[in-house]
């Protein structure tokens, strides 16, 4: 018989593993799908062109040949790129290979608005040149494999930098593509047309095709700058500002509530708890009006008519949250009083005591609060969505994702939508990987400590 101990261990770890798969798999699959040209393919395959090292090397090489940039690729004047393809041709048939650089728009939705130079106007296609013919079998069928080389030449001289060079290869019915330097993005017309969205992608441009598109295609109509990049920066700045104000003001208020005696202290605490329970939908109407009128007209003193669509308004309206004050109060109460009493007896003011003595001792709580605030602000949706409406340059990332969803949802461009979603997770995931202890304990900090 199997020893009981080991059997029990096996079941326990088996359970952990199954749960692990359950909680991580959808995210992992979503991430893989965000790399695919068609994220909704049925059946979902785990092996596809973007995860094959052969294609990584090819994409790197082609990108370097096209523009000297192995990461993001592209093509410059005076460069030349060679691509090899191999076709299986059944006996008694000709491959009838014809190649062309199609005039294709770079994308749908926002990406289609911009006028970008067509590679077809600048790049000359040479070939296909037959390199080799040899007999081969493909399954049941007998025939020959034809190997071709194609050269894409961008003549030296004046010409724009091409971000992408698409390519279509068409063959007779029954002829099958069996190998290529770089696997095609997709097949059309029952496999007769093999299509490359970009034959000079570079490594990142190939593997993270949809991510690069998210940055390149989502551009401002007025200035042409990358909106996606802008949203990311906005989210960062807002989160940093929120972390700063929260840390300072929450520790101030928390300290007063934890240590000082003043009339109405208990009432204030209870009221704070009450405010944490009221849904944001109750207060947002008035808050919207308050920001619209520049906080009772006070902002006019600084020459600002309204605080809507500004980050100042967003920061001012959320200087410090009740939850953060609560966490700091709970933490300060856990510090022994004697530490501060010594300082107070020596004649330090409460402010000095707080900033010189108590706060340096509070780094664990401040760290946890900083991380939770960052995560909270980075992920916050409702209130920024109400305050920031136009222009699109001022969106934060979650609101940007909503405009992604409406721009690309209709055309079913799921690669781009998923790429945007996963990109927005990156900072929080990095934070989580480094400080996971704070995340996991953070929930219970405010909740369980008495």
């Amino acid at each position: 018989m199997l020893p009981r101990f080991w059997a029990r261990l096996a079941w326990a770890y088996g359970l952990l593993l199954v749960l692990g798969v359950f909680f991580v798999a959808p995210f992992l699959m979503g991430f893989l799908a965000s790399l695919k040209p068609d994220p909704l393919e049925w059946p979902f395959r785990l092996r596809f062109a973007q995860v094959s090292p052969k294609n990584w090397l090819a994409a790197w090489g082609l990108g370097r040949a096209g523009s000297g940039d192995p990461w993001l690729g592209g093509m410059r004047p005076g460069r030349e790129v060679a691509l090899e393809v191999a076709y299986f041709v059944p006996r008694g048939q000709e491959p009838g290979l014809s190649a062309q650089i199609p005039r294709r728009k770079p994308g749908a939705g926002m990406g289609a608005v911009f006028e970008s130079p067509y590679a077809a106007d600048h790049v000359r296609l040479e070939g296909p040149f037959l390199l080799e013919r040899r007999p081969a079998r493909l399954g049941e069928a007998e025939g020959e494999v034809y190997r071709y080389r194609l050269r894409l030449v961008y003549p030296a001289g004046e010409g724009p930098f091409l971000e992408r060079v698409p390519l279509d290869l068409e063959v007779e019915r029954g002829v099958v593509l069996v190998g290529a330097t770089l696997d095609p993005t997709r097949f059309e017309r029952r496999g007769r047309v093999a299509s490359w969205d970009n034959v000079v992608p570079g490594l990142l441009g190939y593997v993270f095709h949809n991510y690069v598109r998210a940055f390149r295609e989502t551009r401002s109509l007025e200035t042409g700058e990358s909106l996606f990049l802008r949203w990311t920066l906005n989210s960062f700045l807002l989160a940093l500002a929120k972390v700063l104000t929260t840390l300072v003001f929450a520790s101030m208020a928390g300290y007063a509530l934890a240590r000082m005696r003043f009339p109405g202290r208990q009432a204030l605490f209870l009221f704070m708890l009450f405010s944490m329970m009221v849904p944001g939908q109750v207060t947002f109407i008035s808050n919207y009006l308050v920001l619209r009128d520049g906080i009772f007209g006070l902002s006019r003193l600084f020459g600002v008519e309204t605080l809507l669509n500004t980050y100042t308004g967003l920061i001012l309206s959320g200087l410090v949250g009740a939850g953060a004050v609560f966490i700091m109060k709970q933490f300060f109460e856990s510090i022994p009083r004697e530490v501060e009493e010594a300082a107070l007896i020596d004649g330090a003011t409460p402010l000095q005591t707080l900033f010189r003595i108590v706060l340096p001792m509070s780094t664990p709580a401040l760290g946890a609060l900083a991380i939770l605030t960052f995560q909270g602000t980075w992920n916050e949706f409702f209130w920024p969505f109400v305050v920031l409406t136009s222009p699109r340059e001022i969106y934060t990332l979650p609101i940007g994702l909503l405009s992604f969803r409406s721009a690309y949802g209709q055309v079913g461009d799921w690669g781009l939508i998923l790429a945007g979603g996963f990109f927005s997770m990156v900072p929080v995931l990095i934070l989580f990987a480094v400080f996971q202890r704070y995340f996991v304990e953070g929930v219970s900090v405010g909740a369980l400590k008495e």
Binding site: A256, R265, I285, I399, S406, V428, F432, V443, E450
Partner: protein, 367 residues
């Protein structure tokens, strides 16, 4: 002199509290009172509010859209809270063992909780497409039903055989013995594999193509898109509450379990007589937090709706109803109506918290 000290301390406290009081006063207290006032008025954000008494509340309960939103919100809240509490507790109990590497797994499970609702909604949209992963997984599951059925049958057969063998040799044996279960499982697995190779067990041909999102179809009285949101949100919130339960479980003394084991208590008795009663404060906290959180469902409704998504009546919630009335597309804002709906939402939340306090939640249950 003493009095002066007191005054000084009060002034310092006021100074330290000033930013917080500003936020709390302007953006909470004033806003709350104003919402209360608006709910009795007719107001469109531009002209000045006109007092109309209780008319908004009356109109609210005659508006079918509001009643739908109310129904959705209550059902969503109850279902998600029940599911997430149950599974989080189950998981926490399963994870609360001194196993090597268990912290790693806890961290792993927490992952879905860190992600923003916006990103999670996009993932939800993708998962629940017609050719999405959910339909594919359902198809795979249904197609493999013969295999799973055979696996279960073989497992039971092997387990029964081992049990009979042990009885025959007069040994103490239990159906749940991990060692024999492992053997039976391995045996059943190999058996199914062999049968599949021989072609005796074949997968069925099933292709599930449920249109989860662009539909008005309902299941158990709730629309499909709402079910999709329910599934997804339960999935992302389980880990948060699991962590709370784990923290609570740590506080239960081991000696209690040891004493119970000495008295011969089985796992179910231990769970229902020791774990659950001692977890009561955490349980109440989890239920309260779950209810408060779920009542405010908004982001997912916005993401799941829209072009190529779910029709509004299938997903609308109270929070969305409020927003939709303040910023309706192509119509005058109905701030009074929205405020009334928002206060109904707040009233529901406060009612739940008060009920929780009434039925034995200690101070710990707050926040």
């Amino acid at each position: 002199m003493r009095l002066k000290m007191r005054t000084m301390e009060g002034l310092y406290a006021l100074l330290l509290l000033l930013p917080f009081l500003f936020t709390l006063g302007v953006f909470f207290l004033y806003a709350f009172l104003r919402a209360f006032y608006f709910s009795f008025t007719d107001y469109n954000l531009f002209s000045s509010p006109r007092w109309i008494g209780l008319a908004n509340y009356l109109r609210l309960f005659q508006d079918p859209l509001f009643l739908t939103a109310l129904k959705h919100t209550l059902a969503y809240s109850a279902i998600v809270t029940a599911l997430q509490t149950f599974f989080a507790l189950l998981l926490a109990v399963a994870l609360n063992r001194p196993l090597r590497g268990v912290t790693f797994f806890r961290t792993l499970y927490y992952l879905p909780s860190v992600v923003s609702t916006a990103a999670a909604s996009l993932l939800l949209l993708w998962l629940f497409q017609r050719t999405g992963l959910v339909n594919q997984a359902l198809s795979l599951f249904l197609a493999r039903l013969p295999h799973l059925g055979t696996l279960l049958a073989l497992f039971l057969v092997f387990q029964g055989a081992q049990l009979a063998w042990a009885r025959h040799r007069k040994e103490a044996a239990s159906f749940w013995d991990p060692a024999s279960a492992t053997l039976s499982f391995l045996g059943a697995f190999l058996g199914v594999y062999a049968l599949a190779l021989l072609g005796l067990v074949r997968p069925l041909e099933v292709r599930v193509e449920i249109p989860w999102l662009p539909t008005r179809a309902t299941f158990l009285g709730l629309p499909y898109p709402l079910w999709a949101i329910i599934l997804m949100n339960t999935y992302t919130t389980i880990p948060t509450f699991m962590v709370l339960f784990l923290a609570g479980l740590k506080g239960i003394p081991r000696t209690l379990y040891e004493a119970a084991a000495l008295d011969g208590a089985g796992p179910w008795v231990t769970f229902s007589r020791i774990t659950v009663p001692l977890l009561r404060p955490v349980l109440f906290l989890v239920v309260t937090m779950g209810l408060i959180g779920t009542l405010q469902l908004f982001d997912q409704v916005l993401f799941v709706g829209g072009s190529g998504g779910a029709p509004l009546e299938s997903t609308i919630t109270l929070a969305y109803y409020v927003y939709g009335n303040v910023f309706p597309s192509g119509a005058q804002p109905r701030v009074g109506l929205a405020s009334a709906a928002a206060l109904v939402l707040a009233g529901l939340t406060l009612l739940i918290v008060l009920l929780q306090r009434r039925f034995g939640v200690s101070e710990r249950g707050w926040s």
